[in-house]
Symmetry: C2
Subunit: 362 residues, 2 copies
């Protein structure tokens, strides 16, 4: 068995190599052009960093499907499944034997960046990735416009992948419905703030829409663009949905369990800000509400000791274990879906990426 | 010759009939679903009215290209140009003999509505179409999300038109690049606020990006979706670009020349708010600046008499005639481009629509 530490090392190395290539591709797909301030603002968060988990998943799925050794192919001229039928000739109507799969990866990261810029305005957050949010570094107007620009650019960049028109249409459909669902999830999250009776099921549904659909899109888009069958596309979509939800649950757990200095923000900030998470939603069902644990009316007065006590109480009623178990179940469910994918090194990495999402320390 | 009054009557009747059909189609393409507040906010401006000029142009171009009598075809099952080749059989790879051209019309109106919602936030405007702006009626968060939702919905709705994949891909490409250009135009407009040396050419380029490209998209999208040749697509794009610019220039003229009560807002508001228009940009080249005409430091103190004097001065230096002539030239240039379209009743209406844009009284 691989230890979590060894696995984390493998995954981080795989992510790092792909991240470097994604980082090279972003300025090529999204050069700073006129009007400069708009494009600088659009690039600001993208250039500030990020793990590039979604594009990494996308590129790794592509490698698994093409059944090639990892990192050996040129992502800008990546083999499709077009020529892979029995007689070796392209099926009727299919002409693109190579596509720029990196464009698809960048497109998904650009969508992610657009949602972060607009989310930060909506939540009035000051910081993101250790730098000021775009509406703080620039201004509200520029931040709205930068997000809007990335939105349409993501569609343009996805089209540049050069897939067959029928596949490109399906890919753009997934991209558009994904964006719609992200907006719906964000709106749902807002309505939750005023509700005291959100169930774990409702919370998970919201997370599915707000966060997991973009993982699902990242996982299934290479299958669509490369011409995989519907069973494979659906399975990969499910894999992304499962690990995307697990990712968010793990984020909620880490917020409570990782020391502030390692987390890069106040530990327990979700509790202090009275945000609902799978943990707090579960706790309330056990009769424990945040207000009982922490005085959320005076955010600045909350002490580290109070947070310790709150976490202990959440552990006591089983809410943190419940979150950990739910995330683990989702990851196992997601991994099981990868049966339809060829058994190779890239698929192994997709398993490890799934495990990493809930084993990562921060 | 048709008198302007008779023409306005014809055009208004044609617009009214198509508007009614567009108004029926909007709730079908964009039903209020969960989360309800989000979709209500997304529909708020669409339901508040609007002339529906862009969808009207789109539908009329479709009628002209299909060479059918106006308003006789079902827009939801509209003939393409697929079966129109010599031997009557569909060209290789083309299968959609009918498309839902109304979806394309709604898509363009949805994009327009998204830009208005975000523009009103950026300009912090309180009113739109006689009702509160979305961020006033709802809140900033909901308004940003409503715009974002309409953005992706426009792509989904365009895909529902059911065109052949290669045409659908081209249509989505036009939609995406149009949105990018609108953002660029808006950003350019913002930079103009701080500049004292904008030339008429620069101003027209900004208007092209901010406003005219959506007219261009509306005019060329039916040609793309129906399978017209590149020459026709390009000509229609140019028609839209020309009349879209003329439309904006006429808006600038009307702001100065139409009494406040008819305009529905303060006459001369552009001058009072120190906004650049083709008129003010031209005037400055003649040595007349807004600051010489009106005290823009105290907006509330500006009298009707001051505006009268300012308009008289702008007439004196020829800036209003210059704007009128420029708009007229653009309309004539746009109309000339329609040569490639079959000579029929719908094309006649496209001529009249172009004239109407600069002859309308408000």
């Amino acid at each position: 068995m691989t230890t979590p530490e060894a696995r984390e090392e493998t995954v981080l190395e795989a992510v790092r190599k792909r991240r470097e290539l994604v980082n090279e591709a972003i300025p090529e797909s999204l050069p700073v052009q006129q009007p400069e301030r708009l494009y600088e603002a659009s690039r600001y968060l993208l250039d500030a960093g990020g793990k590039r988990l979604r594009p990494t998943i996308l590129l790794t799925v592509a490698e698994a499907l093409a059944d090639v050794d990892t990192l050996t192919e040129d992502y800008h001229a990546f083999p499709t499944l077009t020529g892979s039928d029995a007689n070796g000739s392209p099926p009727n109507g299919s002409t693109a034997e190579e596509i720029d799969i990196m464009d698809a990866a960048v497109s998904v990261e650009v969508i992610q960046s657009f949602t972060l810029i607009h989310d930060d305005i909506m939540d009035d957050d000051d910081l993101r990735r250790g730098v000021p949010a775009v509406h703080r570094e620039y201004d509200l107007e520029t931040a709205i416009l930068a997000g809007d620009t990335l939105y349409s650019k993501a569609f343009e960049i996805m089209l540049e992948a050069g897939a067959d028109p029928d596949r490109a249409v399906d890919a753009l459909d997934v991209l558009a419905t994904t964006c719609t669902k992200i907006c719906e999830g964000q709106a749902l999250d807002v309505t939750f703030e005023e509700r005291e009776d959100v169930t774990p099921e409702e919370y998970l549904k919201m997370v599915e829409q707000k966060t997991a659909v973009l993982y699902a899109a990242a996982a299934c888009l290479p299958a669509i663009l490369m011409g995989a069958d519907d069973e494979t596309i659906d399975a990969l979509y499910g894999y992304g949905l499962d690990i995307g939800r697990a990712f968010q649950i793990q984020d909620d757990v880490l917020d409570l369990t990782v020391p502030s200095e390692k987390l890069g923000k106040q530990r327990g900030s979700d509790l202090v800000e009275n945000k609902q998470t799978l943990i707090t939603v579960h706790a309330r069902e056990q009769g424990v509400t945040i207000e009982d644990l922490i005085d959320t009316t005076d955010v600045d007065a909350v002490t580290e000791a109070e947070i310790d006590d709150a976490v202990a109480r959440l552990e006591e009623v089983g809410s943190i274990s419940y979150a950990n178990e739910t995330a683990r179940e989702l990851v196992e469910q997601g991994k099981a879906r990868l049966e339809v994918v060829p058994d190779n090194e890239a698929r192994e990495l997709l398993f490890e990426l799934a495990d990493y999402l809930i084993e990562r320390g921060y």
